[in-house]
Symmetry: C2
Subunit: 94 residues, 2 copies
């Protein structure tokens, strides 16, 4: 799962705190594997935060994110744009 965040000016730390609250819940859910929150080096990056999380299955992730939404566990951040979507790696090179 990759979530690309469009963070309004001045809301970065608020968004990181909201992300931490959601992560604390999600990491306890069945099928959670790992997550890495990436912060843009440039202050003017279009997407200040990108989260890349790994889940055991689509169903595990869907169940966890549904429960998170139902329990309102991702604190509201005014003007925040979130773009969560499921992906699979189609090409990798080391």
């Amino acid at each position: 799962m990759i979530n690309v965040f469009e963070v309004p000016e001045g809301r970065l730390s608020e968004t990181i705190s909201a992300w931490e609250a959601a992560r604390d819940y999600l990491e306890e859910q069945p099928g959670y594997v790992s997550t890495e929150l990436h912060r843009a080096l440039a202050e003017d990056a279009r997407f200040a935060l990108v989260n890349v999380a790994i889940w055991r299955s689509v169903d595990d992730f869907m169940a966890a994110s549904r429960a998170m939404a139902e329990n309102d566990l991702f604190p509201e951040v005014e003007g925040l744009g979130v773009n969560p979507a499921l992906y699979r790696v189609i090409e990798g090179a080391e």
Copy 2:
């Protein structure tokens, strides 16, 4: 480095081929470590492709991407939106 692609309808395979051409060049450059191209499972995902690459240093990446641009090594794809930016992982949980 994370690159978030906004892929126009019908241009996915063309974009993947362009990405492969760039990857073939970049993976030979000093400081390249690894890359993973992620494809959205949903056909209507806003960002159909997200590339997550790891480089040894900012300078290594900047040199390689400058050379790629100067040599015009990323084939043009009409209407393609690219959003490359450098990130660092600020939070991770396993």
